[in-house]
Amino acid sequence: MNVREATVVAGLIVAHLLLRIGFGLQNAAPDLMLLALLLASRSLSLGGGALVGFCLGLLEDAFSMLSFGASVFALTLVGTMGAQVRHMFVGRSIFFQSTYFFLAKWVRDLLAWLVSNPDSRDVFVDHVLIESPVAALYVAAAGLSVRYLFLKDSARE
């Protein structure tokens, strides 16, 4: 990971916390934390991706009173998968990258739903099949914007 990528990843994490916690925008802001993890894990080893996912999950769960640890588990797995995907696919196209961001967000929400407290989680159909795909589209759009605005050179490499 070069300096520019590291700066963008750190910036996305700070922006996520600032928008969602500081300004209380909730789902009106895209999941930039996940985006940061996906961008970082593409240049990290499996263990590195999992470690970054674990730490970001802890930050995400710091406000959770309903299902503490669900984000930790989901982001650890997504970080691992993000690092693994690099060995399987070398994609630069808009289609590949948007699909990558979309699927990652959907899988993250699915995993978090699976390990959440059954008493408190939303109905499967509403959460995983309706809300999550919409949020995933939002993440994909934000991911493409970040890629082509700040990491254009890295995307070409």
Binding site: G22, L58, E60, A62, G69, V123
Partner: protein, 292 residues
């Protein structure tokens, strides 16, 4: 080449062990006792996330200041009218209590706070208040709005606190309903709707023969000593179900919709030492009055 290949294998094995360890750790995190989870969350909020929480409080205060001045003025006027009319009732009440030789109630006060929602996943039903231990707030204090009961404080920091509203699965409150035939009692808890907006309250455990009229006021009974007596929870709705002729449950139309609450007050019960200090002050005032 052989060395590079074995080095790569070693790296992959190490990575595999790290991933396995972290996954195991994340599963342990999920199954940690609630107290331990709370400690971890609190440590993170007081360290790494502190600047973002400060921004959150700053934004909440700025929004509060930017509210329509005339609305606040109107609310203040209404409150003053209510206080003025309540003064006579309070005096009558004091005289009647004196006649009946009843003890004074434990004094309590309300601490005003802004209700702030954090936007991270898994934090629905949870809110932050921009008042904390410094204002006298303690864990399990009741959080009320002008309309009625909103929820309960859970964790208290020096300048802010965290709590959950009635839609949280762990929320319970002892309730009473005053009817023409007397009082009915039960336990109010949240029932999840298909969407979060459909969450509602259910009154469980009322006697099977208690026939509650729809629209009857449901108040906190004060049993259990957590919530003060007499706070409005909502109004009786339709029958939710009955269990084998033993008890009957009712849906409750809530007095407060959690999403609509932006300001609240925390019902702070004054601790014993403060009570003693108040009593001492009252005694000294009485002595001073006697001298005059």
């Amino acid at each position: 080449m052989v060395g590079q290949a074995s080095g790569g294998r070693k790296h992959r094995r190490r990575d595999f062990h790290i991933v396995l360890g972290l996954l195991l750790l994340s599963l342990i995190t999920i199954n940690l006792p609630f107290e331990a989870q709370r400690e971890i969350g609190n440590a993170l909020r007081e360290s790494v996330l502190r600047p973002f929480i400060e921004v959150q409080l700053m934004v909440a205060r700025t929004r509060a200041r930017a509210r329509d001045y005339l609305t606040v003025r109107a609310q203040l006027d209404s409150a003053l009218t209510f206080v003025a009319s309540a003064a006579t009732l309070a005096e009558e009440n004091r005289q009647i209590r004196d006649l009946l030789d009843l003890h004074e109630r434990s004094p309590s006060r309300l601490v005003a706070a802004s209700v702030i929602r954090s936007g991270t996943s898994g934090s629905s039903s949870v809110f932050r208040l921009d008042a904390g231990a410094g204002d006298g707030i303690r864990s399990f204090d009741a959080v009320v709005t002008a309309q009625g009961l909103l929820g309960q404080v859970q964790e208290v920091g020096p300048g802010s606190s965290m709590g959950y509203d009635w839609s949280h699965p762990d929320f319970r409150v002892s309730a009473m309903i005053v009817t023409n035939e007397g009082q009915a009692h039960g336990l109010v808890e949240a029932e999840r709707g298909q969407f979060r907006e459909q969450d509602r309250l259910v009154l469980r455990g009322t006697a099977f023969l208690s026939d509650l009229e729809p629209g009857a006021r449901v108040l906190t009974s004060g049993r259990g000593g957590v919530f003060p007596r007499g706070i409005l929870i909502g109004w009786v709705g339709e029958v939710a179900g009955a269990s084998a002729g033993w008890d009957i449950s009712y849906y409750i139309d809530p007095a407060v919709y959690p999403g609509a609450a932006t300001y609240a007050s925390v019902h702070v019960v004054m601790p014993a030492d403060t009570l003693q200090a108040v009593a001492n002050t009252a005694d000294s005032v009485a002595v001073a009055d006697a001298f005059r």
